[in-house]
Amino acid sequence: MIRIEHLTKTFGDHQDQVHALSDVNLVIEKGDIFGIIGLSGAGKSTLVRCINRLEEPTSGEVYIEDVAMTRLNESELREKRKEIGMIFQHFNLLMNSTVEENIAFPLKLSKYPKDKIQKRVDELLEVVGLTEKRKSYPATLSGGQKQRVGIARALANDPKIILSDEATSALDPITTEAILQLLKEINRQYGITVVVITHEMDVIKKICNKVAVMENGAPVEVGSVLDVFSNPQSQTAKNFLEGELFHISEKTRTEGKSASQSASLLKISFRGDITDEPIIANIMKNYQVEVSILGGNIEEIQAVNLGYLVVKIQGDQQELEQVYQYLSSKSLRWEVL
């Protein structure tokens, strides 16, 4: 659906150049909810803006359904953009237009006949649940309602792709949840490919099936959300996950470190059905060790359970080795902290 090849973007002149993107390669499949996560300045926003050429790439190419975007002329580009809806952090609604006028805006740009516009606007108001507010001005709406207008507007032209540039970053957690569910619903119902830019792992966890972790203008890790969450490779991904899901307090770490030599602090990560197996009980039953649980968490991601436990295991070295072997024989990941 979207293929990004050797994309680079450089800002500024020769004296002080900023490399916002350096040699980005990504493939986003049809029907994906593809998350792009990174800290501020990682280039994620520039990347998504290069997709519809709100930002002109310095070099490289973006293919949308095999159409090379940078080779389109101005009017071809405008037509292509109508197939790509975009929603924004600050909504960017027309403040002097009502809700329905805002939603009708892209249809007017496409010179739809009046009666068709009316019909489509009614449908879209229904989809985002704002039929009551059709005559209201954006200034009177809540943040969540404004973003719903933004989404309805992005859907108006029946796009194949929706680009979401930090669409929930200005919203409170409850509203964020509702907006994310709406995006997920849209993806499922209409098969629209969604590209989500965010700096929150939580957003990725809730709706994305694939994720690219960006750092210094390039993805450092790309994969299914389940893979990246259960087995992060890059330090950046690990940092994001530490912060969001697998938080291990400093106190726990020091406690573990200060334990006697005959004890070790383990982090065990589970994934899928193995979560149901009584691993800890088995360890305690079969080996001469004492196990104390220091922390843990189970998350459901893409309908798969993903969990971790931090445990302190005490026992003599030989027994500990056997526990390690037992853990390794199971399809789970573990590490000594």
Binding site: N52, L54, E74, S75, R78, E79, K80, R81, K82, I84, G85, M86, F88, H90, N92, L93, L94, M95, N96, S97, F105, P106, K108, L109, S110, Y137, P138, A139, T140, R153, N157, L163
Partner: protein
């Protein structure tokens, strides 16, 4: 000498006539220039460095000329268009041309207040430049433009009184000929009161309309 109400009334009419048409033409001339000044800026929707600096210089030069001198310079143009350099109709030419650069700057700064995000949103939906101007920039800046228009009308009103000094008729003409040259203080006072009331009215109407059209704040 008597108070000449019969002179004031037609003069008031002439003033209204001059102000109305000069405002109209100055907006027709100035608004497109204001739009161009903005959109030809670097990184705006139609970057054109040379055009931008040429327009900007013309606007600055015209704005730096004192109005009384501009009228004299534009005598020939009035003669070409209306066949005369005397009277309210002839005064419309210099008045429009004097106010147009002012309108351009006022429009430019009003349009500049439209958040860039809105323009980008329109671009992302496939809007062309024309659509961005008509459907985003102008409607979103409408209340600032109305306030700018109010300023323009009041400016032109002031200029029209000045134009009266060199044969344009109107309130300014009465003030000079009767109030100043014949020392009729009651006539002078009458013209001043008319001007004050007009300015107040124009400003209040402008504020009211601008406020009505501004939907950017809640309620």
């Amino acid at each position: 000498m008597d108070f000449r109400f019969d002179l004031i009334l037609p003069a008031f009419g002439e003033t209204l006539y001059m102000v109305f048409f000069s405002t109209l033409f100055s907006v027709i001339l100035g608004l497109p220039i204001g739009v161009l000044l903005l959109i030809t800026e670097e990184k705006h929707i139609l970057p054109a460095k040379t055009l931008n600096s040429v327009l900007s210089s013309i606007v600055n030069i015209l704005r730096s000329l004192p109005f009384i001198i501009l009228i004299i310079i534009l005598f020939p143009l009035s003669r070409i268009i209306f066949g005369t350099t005397i009277g309210s109709t002839a005064a419309i030419v210099p008045l429009s041309i004097a106010a147009a650069p002012f309108v351009a700057r006022v429009a430019e700064s009003a349009l500049k207040e439209v958040p860039w995000g809105m323009i980008e949103a329109a671009k992302s939906m496939g809007a062309n430049n024309w659509q961005i101007i008509w459907r985003v920039l102008l409607p979103e800046a409408v209340s600032a433009l109305i306030l700018g228009l109010t300023l323009t009308i009041i400016n032109i009103l002031g200029y029209s009184a000045m134009a009266g000094a060199i044969g344009a008729g109107g309130i300014g003409d009465v003030a000079i000929r009767y109030g100043f040259q014949r020392f009729q203080e009651d006539m002078l006072l009458a013209t001043v009161i008319i001007l004050i009331v007009m300015v107040q009215l124009i400003q209040s109407c402008g504020n009211y309309v601008a406020n009505k059209l501004d939907k950017r704040k809640a309620n």
